[in-house]
Amino acid sequence: MYRYDEFDHALVRERVEQFRGQVARRMTGALTADEFRPLRLMNGLYAQLHAYMLRVAIPYGTLSSRQLRMLGHIARKWDRGYGHFTTRQNIQYNWPRLVDTPDILSDLASVEMHAIQTSGNCIRNVTADQYAGVAADEIVDTRVYAEIIRQWSTFHPEFSFLPRKFKIAVSGAASDDRAAVRFHDIGIFVRRNEAGDIGFEVMAGGGMGRTPAIAPTLHKFVPEPDLLSYLEAILRVYNLLGRRDNLFKARIKILVMATGVEAFTALVEEEWQRIRESALKLPEDEIARIRGYFAPPPYEALAGVSRELDAQLLQDAAFSEWHSANVTAHKQPGYAIVNASLKPAGGVPGDMTADQMDAVAELAERYSFGEIRVTHEQNLVLAHVRKSDLYAVWRNLVELGLATANLNLISDIIACPGLDYCSLATARSIPVAQRISLAFADLKRQRDIGELRLNISGCINACGHHHAGNIGLLGVDKHGEEFYQLTLGGHDGADASIGVIAGPAFGSDEIVGAIERVTDTYLALRTPGERFIDTYRRVGLKPFKERLYPAQQAAE
């Protein structure tokens, strides 16, 4: 893992002390609410429905056991005993007191963490594929480049007052996209060309919100040393031309759409050629130095097959079901990647108690080289578990309530905080997620439905990725009542697509039934082995619409 050097330490410490002073001045009134607002946001402190909310960055989703323990400690000491992992690989605390935040930030600094880049119109916490460095299908370890981008973007003086927030995601799998990169302001696929050189496919102008967009590719192969100059060129064009007059049109996606992809790419190219041979060029030894931080842990030389595991799989059906749903192939023989589900039936997606955090930190220490990953689907990953330890890890996770065998199934729901916490919400998301996961609690039924991503947002800002859900739900307010608009066909893989609104919104008490009609329709239409998204793409919206709105169809 990356370790802070003395400059990083000094920077973060200084920032905490600055904020301590700002909080003190706010309390005496020396700073007004309006003056203080941007300062607290720069430190990840929002004001939500019931209390302040502190958003802590987990750069590219990687945590050490020591850090996770600290997150648990903070939840216990300064909050209400739990935290919420988000789609942006952050953790949010829902109840911190203003006067305690400097101490919380100081606690975080002691384990090389902070809340910088979690708010405001800057380059936000960079996100990445949660299987970076371990996935069997990986081309290059993305963490190296995510870390380089993090260092370049942190406090970048030119980009601290962009027209709007700016989100970058990196993925390194050969054919998969585990970081929803095409839904980001900049998305990056790490590639290798035929000569074996590393380079980057760079996309820009993707996003969710009220105008969802899939990022078009600007450059198919930016050579490795030019990564930062190319990113800087994009940011410069955006910083100069992005709209500052209208909040809803300020994101880069609007600029790319308005300018046209070709013209926008040309502008970036022009700027890039100007700055390409500058201090931004990445020297080979610097890349190697960063790569050193992400050297593989000291794996044992093991056989690819574990007899012990094979026997346990035969003996224990529940273990075997969990294994096929939540365990993924590792590139190192004898090891596996474990997904710990934060989506128990009836639970709050992404929420974790302080006790669970402590226990997982301990598990990671014992079985996974003390490392934990956070996923944009709001789950956790133990990235290097010996196959022969899987059974023990599973038993522990079962006890902790973190072993629901539902990865990528209908109850593996992404949900934003919604009206239970969020001051921008138009409806609740979490209780709907709870009702859906209870309705589909039978794992056999879920497995039969197969891979299906259901995402829920509590308002049009789309923090819950509903546009990218195979089934998406958007909470809306109709005359003071909660309604849910249903979209179909969204997808966040390498072949990303945006969901299409199926028809009029459903009332809160109708929504679970509507989803069951969608899955029933799919089950009746699918060919053997066909995923929901593929069936939907083959048959289109019509048959689903007929089932969802029979009266309306009859009238037409």
Binding site: M27, A33, Q48, L49, Y82, L419, D420, R428
Partner: protein
Amino acid sequence: MGLQVLTACRLIDSRVVYLAHDGNWSEWIEEGETASSEAESEALKARGKAGEAANVVFETYLVDVVDDSGTLKPVSLREFIRANGPTIHPNFGLQAERRKKGDNQAITRRNAATARKVASE
């Protein structure tokens, strides 16, 4: 005009508070001073601004409520959730406190009304 109470976020922790009849900021809506005329609402707003100026609260505004057999109930779902805590995690501290307190709301409200009446006599 229906009933209104004045709400705010408390500066120190941004918790939801209501301007109470005794001039304090209370975490419990049932202790909120009610206004039933434009003039009373304006008076509440002015007292709220004073609270902002004194750095005790921020974001003060009026909330529509109904008197539901002695209990003050916000009209909108958003304000209902603000008053009662998230509708999830019933066991996490605040929500539990609110629920328990909620059981006594009607009584507290009547007490408050009585207290006010006594004070004005």
